[in-house]
Symmetry: C2
Subunit: 231 residues, 2 copies
DNA sequence: ATGATGCTTCGAAAACGATCGAAGTATCAA
DNA sequence: TTGATACTTCGATCGTTTTCGAAGCATCAT
């Protein structure tokens, strides 16, 4: 198959409303069952099944069989990046007119997960704070945690050494936000930081969306530990 | 229109073979006429016209009328980024089997333009050399040219101050390569460097493609001026 | 076993989009 | 003005894709 045909095939897969909904639903990095995805997209199970098969065959999704359930997730961070890049174009221009956005949309802008790390105002704020305090020093492809950052993460209970050990995944990388139009921290460290926030009850997922809210406890810890000030 | 519908609309536009060809053809940042794009995609002028209208209305392309010609170009770097991210998924896995690639493909891997800057082995090599020599120090969102880099560019005849002056475009940003799987230098500096190479005859575009080759003269200058060693 | 659940395959109906011939508009060159 | 070029609009055709009902498989609970 020609390279261009494959390009079109991939893009076309993302270009169906039903499939687009499913891909968006998987953007938080979780693995969902076919039924959940069907309901999320508002289509029947049969339809969803055929869509999921096609996307899996094309290498966009990966499946894991568990009993009578089939868990689907994005095949790789590269897929998530493609979805983000399309989202960025699809997002209403912030600069244009401050058009009316629903409450759910507002929650998404405030904070959400992006594949496996934090995005939105929350993600950008944390990233900014880390850089300003000199805890992160990011190069072009792979970033570095400074000595002070190393100590900080260790104090918080995040083992950066262990993350560095498992190669094959870039430690730090920037990921451009569709709402903030600025980059936030992704990569293995971004993922670790995100799950750390979840595990400690600093953030909580809003029912049925990928929006997250910061708990009062989380606000305090983020401020005290990482110097994050959420406007 | 719901946000998700717009997502699907954008992706679907890129998901037609004809339109995909045109978008790829515009990836070098040039503006092409409708006829050129029609020929490139192997479709008639009427068909191309309707495609171009749709993509323009969706905000993917921008047109400029000049006499009886209509020049079409990508509407923004964000569009180019989306195309790149799809390409990355569509590219044959380098890791898998070193499958037979045609000579044209080899030329593209060696060096090409990506929207308005250099990519491929060439682009990555230059970027690496600049970073290793301490001429570039890239932060998360906007990079910085170090003092030594400033001097270097000035010596070469590239006015970084002037580039910094025109705001609205990020000076440095990484752009991930589909062939090298590593980032190369994009942004205003990347664009300036690219046109500088063209203007001085260091690189030349291969007829009808966006592949570029380095001239013997260019090899020498790139090595002497920027410390680039092309394997 | 028996029935329920999760998911896939099959088949047919319906909707959609791509395509191009033909005709129309705008610009250029005499 | 006349003719040529660049491009768009219209209209009809044709192929693809989506969709879901119905039936089939696999797994689980009892």
């Amino acid at each position: 198959m020609s390279n261009n045909a494959r390009f079109a095939e991939i893009a076309a897969l993302a270009g169906d409303p039903g499939r687009a909904s499913m891909l968006n639903g998987l953007m938080d990095g979780r693995a969902l069952t076919a039924s959940e995805l069907a309901q999320l997209a508002g289509i029947t199970a049969q339809t969803a099944s055929s869509h999921l098969t096609r996307m899996t065959e094309a290498g966009l999704l990966a499946v894991e069989k568990q009993g009578r359930h089939r868990y689907h997730r994005l095949a790789s961070p590269a897929v998530a990046q493609m979805i983000e890049s399309i989202m960025r174009l699809a997002a209403p221009e912030v600069t244009a007119k401050p058009l009316r956005t629903g409450p759910r949309d507002a929650a998404l802008r405030a904070g959400r997960t992006c594949y496996d790390h934090l995005a939105g105002h929350l993600g950008v704020s944390i990233t900014d704070a880390l850089i300003n305090a000199g805890h992160l020093d990011l190069g072009l492809d792979a970033g570095e945690v400074t000595d002070s950052g190393l100590a900080l993460f260790a104090r918080a209970g995040i083992d950066v050494e262990a993350l560095t050990a498992k190669r094959g995944r870039i430690l730090c990388r920037p990921c451009l936000d569709w709402s903030e139009r600025r980059p936030h921290l992704a990569g293995a460290i971004g993922a670790a930081l995100c799950s750390h926030c979840f595990n400690n009850g600093w953030i909580r997922r809003l029912e049925g969306t990928r929006a997250v809210s910061v708990t009062p406890n989380g606000q305090r810890h983020l401020r005290e530990t990482f110097g994050v000030s959420l406007s």
